[in-house]
Amino acid sequence: MTAPVVIYVPRDAAALAMDADAVARGIERAADERGLSVQVVRNGSRGLLWLEPLVEVATPDGRVAYGPVAPEDVAALFDAGWLTGGAHPLRLGLTEDIPYLKHQERLTFARVGIIDPLSLQDYAAHGGLAGLKRALAMEPAQIVDEMVTSGLRGRGGAAFPTGIKWKTVAGSPSDQKYIVCNADEGDSGTFADRLLMEGDPYVLIEGMTIAGLAVGATYGYIYVRSEYPHAIATLEAAIARARSVGWLGSDVHGSGRVFDLEVRKGAGAYICGEETSLLESLEGKRGVVRAKPPLPAISGLFGKPTVINNVISLATVPIILAKGAAYYRDYGVGRSHGTLPFQLAGNLKQGGLVEKAFGLSLRDLLYEFGGGSASGRPLRAVQVGGPLGAYLPESQWDVPLDYEAYIQISAMIGHGGLVAFDDTVDMARMARYAMEFCAIESCGKCTPCRIGSTRGVETLDKIATGDASQREQQVHLLRDLCDTMMGGSLCALGGMAPYPVLSALNHFPQDFGIESSQSAAHAA
């Protein structure tokens, strides 16, 4: 009897949202009817999201991709002989040769989409655990040094050097320390955390374990937003399996070291992506931002020294340890070392995940990868870095994606999410939305954010609908308000909500009904 043909159908929410479960059932049923032997493996997503569900057939030449596969396509695919890589309009060739994937530099996402996310064997067979094994043979201080040397900066958005954060926690003596993973990925246009948690959960577990070894923490929490039920289920299943084979627990990999962790579920509050608010939420309180200092690294969860890092930061730790700090550091430009999983979203033909070294331009991402707008109309504005990121006009699309270069143009790379808009967008409305979002999501602790955002919505309404002769005055007021919010807010929500507002005003003044010269004078 011949071995069954392996067919990969993603289990990622992005694929499920396009009927992947029905496709998987259809494949099993059709194979049964035809007396063919197939084994359906539910992998993570390759990140080519406009092609989901992207089904792959393992052939002797490699994995051949077909997509997007609808349940009604399955019979025709069998008729076309797809089990041997047969031709069909949905055939995309060898997955590895698809340009979108081939031109990436996948370090953090090396295994995502390739393996069965919950298979311990797959994980170990595809390079998993190499980082942890090296870390177990090192002194804690050496691990921290390795992280400092790698140049990894917080991938959640703030870009603070991860190694420095760890060093502070390592140097804070305490009977108990914690590793907290911030998986409250609430920014629109971002999904890298979700793809990783659903596609390769063990890499996050490994990264957190290494962090625990480095700073002397024995317990970790992954705070996942409630909007991600599939990520929560995958992580919980992965943690249970990891515990059952001794990857977690009182004797991690037989080393005698202790590390365990659990998933905690958020409850729909965007502000809980802010680190101190997240800690409050974990403690069972309202997610109200804490004043800093003290830093969480010194007094964090339950008042104990706490490493709090984003999913992507922690999931990048294993490859840094496995391949060495220099290997990772050599990717990127300037002080932006390594790679960033960019997320292409909004009005783009080919939305998805593109992991690349820093230094490429937005234009490359939008056109080389994204394929231009989905609507076929010209692209007009791109918001980079989530709801608190600036809107970039075409004149800024050639600026290299580098943390410092973006700061120079009053923008931020943030979590690497970008949302593209075509020329039908009304930027005054987007500016109003930014203020409205801040008003909805403000924790209410500081006045500039709580009141300022509401006043911002009102002022923008007056600019849009009010007396044209008053407009200049209202714009002046709005700029003044933005200045107060940026300077006086306690955290990045109020402090950065003005970025999308001001960038819209400066680069697209015609949408606000004002002269461009008037706006340019302020922008200069």
């Binding site: 929410a13 406009w50 629109s188 909007e227 958020g266 069972g284 009005n347 808009f421 924790c443």
Partner: protein, 185 residues
Amino acid sequence: MHQREAKSDLASSGGARGGKLALDAAQASPTPAIAATARIVARLKDLPGPLLPVLHEVQHELGCIPAEAVQTIAEALNLSRAEVHGVITFYPHFRSEPAARHTLEVCRAESCQAMGGEHLAAHARTALGCDFHASTADGNFTLEPVYCLGLCAQSPAVMIDGQPHARVTPDKLDRLLTRTLEASS
């Protein structure tokens, strides 16, 4: 030493706060919501920072966090009712009233807006005949906004009873709503 007998009414007073007594009494409560809440709290109260896990479980089991559960939770965790109420009302996910039989969440964030999300949101309102944060008159659907489902490359996106759906057009939404009703009837 003389063991003092606790009076049964202590369970609802400050005297038994955070104690086993309050929970034992509540678990025996004739009100099903109180008894269920007490069982959940008894199971989870020793977690560090137990309140959010408790609230999630209560909502999962009862469909919402009713007012009578607040008292039980507060007493068992040694919190004031105001504190528990504050937490429930801070987080949009928690609700004090039960939702309709099905919940439709429509993403309102930027990426979905770039792909016609506002049009879809307007269509959802019209199709269901209710606004956001409200339920249809027949009790079939609750309509909620959501700020990002992480399906931004396949905008606009919605979630129906926890199942994600991407690239949703008004027509596709109508089909999904019909299918949801058919599946449950």
